[in-house]
Symmetry: D3
Subunit: 215 residues, 6 copies
Amino acid sequence: MVDSAVIRARARWPRVIFAVSTVPAAMNGQPGGLAVRRKEAEDAAAALGAEMRFFDVGDYPLREAPEVVDRLVHVYREVAPTVVLTHTLADPYNGDHPAAARMALQARVLAQAIGYGAPGEPLGAPPVFFFEPHQPEQCDFRPDVLLDITPVFARKRKAMECLPAQEHMWEYYTDLAKRRGVQLRRNVGPNLGLPHNTMGEAYVRLYPQVTGVLS
Amino acid sequence: MVDSAVIRARARWPRVIFAVSTVPAAMNGQPGGLAVRRKEAEDAAAALGAEMRFFDVGDYPLREAPEVVDRLVHVYREVAPTVVLTHTLADPYNGDHPAAARMALQARVLAQAIGYGAPGEPLGAPPVFFFEPHQPEQCDFRPDVLLDITPVFARKRKAMECLPAQEHMWEYYTDLAKRRGVQLRRNVGPNLGLPHNTMGEAYVRLYPQVTGVLS
Amino acid sequence: MVDSAVIRARARWPRVIFAVSTVPAAMNGQPGGLAVRRKEAEDAAAALGAEMRFFDVGDYPLREAPEVVDRLVHVYREVAPTVVLTHTLADPYNGDHPAAARMALQARVLAQAIGYGAPGEPLGAPPVFFFEPHQPEQCDFRPDVLLDITPVFARKRKAMECLPAQEHMWEYYTDLAKRRGVQLRRNVGPNLGLPHNTMGEAYVRLYPQVTGVLS
Amino acid sequence: MVDSAVIRARARWPRVIFAVSTVPAAMNGQPGGLAVRRKEAEDAAAALGAEMRFFDVGDYPLREAPEVVDRLVHVYREVAPTVVLTHTLADPYNGDHPAAARMALQARVLAQAIGYGAPGEPLGAPPVFFFEPHQPEQCDFRPDVLLDITPVFARKRKAMECLPAQEHMWEYYTDLAKRRGVQLRRNVGPNLGLPHNTMGEAYVRLYPQVTGVLS
Amino acid sequence: MVDSAVIRARARWPRVIFAVSTVPAAMNGQPGGLAVRRKEAEDAAAALGAEMRFFDVGDYPLREAPEVVDRLVHVYREVAPTVVLTHTLADPYNGDHPAAARMALQARVLAQAIGYGAPGEPLGAPPVFFFEPHQPEQCDFRPDVLLDITPVFARKRKAMECLPAQEHMWEYYTDLAKRRGVQLRRNVGPNLGLPHNTMGEAYVRLYPQVTGVLS
Amino acid sequence: MVDSAVIRARARWPRVIFAVSTVPAAMNGQPGGLAVRRKEAEDAAAALGAEMRFFDVGDYPLREAPEVVDRLVHVYREVAPTVVLTHTLADPYNGDHPAAARMALQARVLAQAIGYGAPGEPLGAPPVFFFEPHQPEQCDFRPDVLLDITPVFARKRKAMECLPAQEHMWEYYTDLAKRRGVQLRRNVGPNLGLPHNTMGEAYVRLYPQVTGVLS
């Protein structure tokens, strides 16, 4: 299986294209069909206008290793993402998710270090967002950001449809986007006039938001 | 003592003037000098371009009562604030702070109800921010917003200086703004180029942030 | 509005009919139409084979008062429920929910006291379950029970349809039941062979489960 | 020392014999006497009607390694346990306990994966229970299950008595069972009529309970 | 029933006699026998060398009222306790315990206020300790202090024996003291050489410890 | 950079000199200048009357390895510290800090084991304190100890001044000591009469405090 984290991340947030490339990619845990899955992932990325990087770090379970982290540091330095999306740090249903997240976070911090031996400028401090797992409450996922994806939802849907083997997930994520959209409208200030069919995504921040305006 | 919540709230976020009026006001817990304190509070508010409302609900401890909540609902409906700032819901050093916060929050929800008997339009859902208490860790204050107040700090300082009896607090809050400013700069994305003397304030959100852009 | 807690509780768990009567009832927060709402609630209850008790304790916000608690104690003693369903103790969107829950819980403990002046036997210790709020993560709702409601879902749907003014909620709760059903199937042991269309409800326990068998 | 997790697990829950074999086994941290300890463990298991597996993965501290996890996956696939008992994930007094638990949990998830290379059917989703550590509050052990072990306590006691070197623990665990039994009786519903000498064990669930009946 | 908080508090910590008088006292929830219970409580207090204050605020449930808090403020000012012991703020089994604790804490803060109208000097900031409830984990009781009561345990036992109606509790608290004593010995530094029969009590602090030496 | 943990630890608590040697030392993450940094660290230690151990375990990120833990066990056995100071276990800004802390804690537990192959007596149970990170709230740092360092602050300042490259930190830590000193004075009992310029440090305990006196 191609790592769905990458695909979903792109699907969810197509306006910051390069950020997603910094999430650890392509852990193939199933025998056979890898080439097909890779192609699907690339199609989905293309639908979003994003680019795909495959790490091919091997079998399920995902091996957490310094070399993988180092390769991620190189991607961070090359791409200089403005945001990072990754899995939650807790997930009792899939140990690969926290492992991928730990490496994504460790590489981000190393990429910031002046002395780290990788080409490119030291990274700034791009904000980190955890995206929603299947069983959010079991993963300590308490959303502190509700993102309005109404204007880009059609593109996200198109990207999802590049993955025919996961057709049952298309409706699941469409329903989820509706539910988060309903919540978004209940949490919004008075002047936005959001439409009934608002579509949303929920995120958890790792670091405090930095802003010049409270809203 | 005039309720410092109001003053500090205005001082901290002068660009949304009317919001602060929705925070419960003017609990005088000390005999004598009330007129002087009231005048100081009005001067501080004026320095911020804000307006002051005194509720005069009586002595320390703050009495948590339906009538006070109802008066707050009226203010919400009249002012239609775009943000609400209030105390933390936990504070083992001062029970008046959580009591004020509970009333501010209850009134905000009631002001949203179509059926509530108070003039004006039903309130939208203005975001709520808890501001920083003196002993943040003991009040479960884990900042999720760092606000850059560099451009308005001089005005905040001027407002604080309207309270001569609290002179020792002037330096305290200036130091705090520096410390939060240092943290702000460490959490900021790569392109902002913040100056060395960045001044900051820390906040905790009650509700998830609603946004169209992750940043 | 008739208190939806009661209706939903019955709808969710029709096999223990009397238990729901111990949940605080009938808080009417809207002017007019009370008789209609009452009738709808009774119809919904009838669809479940349950009985309805109206407390008529007055307007929104719900008044938390010793007399209401005392009336609840009488109901507990009369009904001797084997389970109690109520709202979550935290809900930043609706203060009436925690208020109702606090009274339901206080009355339950008082009904257990031998010395309490109400007819009937002292209550045992019926387990307490919090049912799912609209924004579960903001209400500290981390499910520890997933209830299979597949065999009774049709009846729940019928009960919901007795509330025509809340038609938009019919689909919402049907979708939610599907989503919780999917999670239920992922958490189930090996031998149950649950069908694809499993419908579920999520709950949080207040007290530890007591059992003679681990499963 | 033979890993007490296995022994205690069997001792605690003798009615699901094979489940315990899935807990990581036999970490010998003390020089000498291993053969004696092994014999004692087998006697204790026999007293419970359970079977013992020794992994002999070496010295204290327990080495957390992919090969050990893989061997555990094989046991899961072979035994197909209906429940899993293991240590808490936090234990500041003994790092081997969380290490054993992490491997037990990782292996359980891998054993569920269709593509994992081990004989036998993919595992279902047996519920996981953490058993009680010596200093429960320091290990974030907040019981959500109280198991009535009155009918099998005599057998548990007999199993404990197979470990003469730990004689001081016999009384300790008997007292603990009494204390948990008292709590069990206070949390039980009205109709069970539990006797005064109820013996209990406390557990924490990792995953939500799946059930068709609320009780 | 005489409020056991007071009695136990004295029994547990006889060396700071007056502190216990600041805990809310004497809530009689049972008809008849009050005089007997009062006498027993006074005997137990005398066994500890402590003095008893009865508030007689009426029936179960404990009424949380400003007048009771005010009376407590007067006691604080009169006694000037150096420590305060009270119930946990969470207790799903007995709502009177948190109610008593809330009043004890509110009165303590008010007694510190210079402007509060009660005779005596403003109170300092005596540390607050929550003592152990019957079901500690359900009351969020995570001990951060283990008190060695070996030298005074005999006196505590004698005080408990002044309450013949609670004879079953004598062994319970003796066993508990042993269990906490075992934990105490496991957490102690290298040089104390504690005996095998160490008796202990567990507490949770509300405020940070203030000290001149780390130990 | 020489690991600042060691330096700060010594600087903060000079009266227990040998304890700091048990914290993992000397992780050099920057090219060049190591000799200079080493010299500065030794000067700072000397200013405190403490001794420095360098582990030279290599580059940033800190490698978490059994050999490093084993070397730490040897230091524990040799020094027999009465307290241990280390980093917080959570730090989203610097992964080396939790890694160092995990090794310090694992080694401490192993040093207690009778069977562990290292010279010297088995360690007792020295209390563990986490010292304050730069962004305490993001590191789950909720102080439960406030240490009065007024009498030794001058020496701490002198030690800091041995690190000229970190001059901006001198004021930072001096300001922090003032702020913690203010909090210390607000949490102190009535009879201590602390001066206005009290300097403090905040700590979090890992294990419960063991004491013979509540204060």
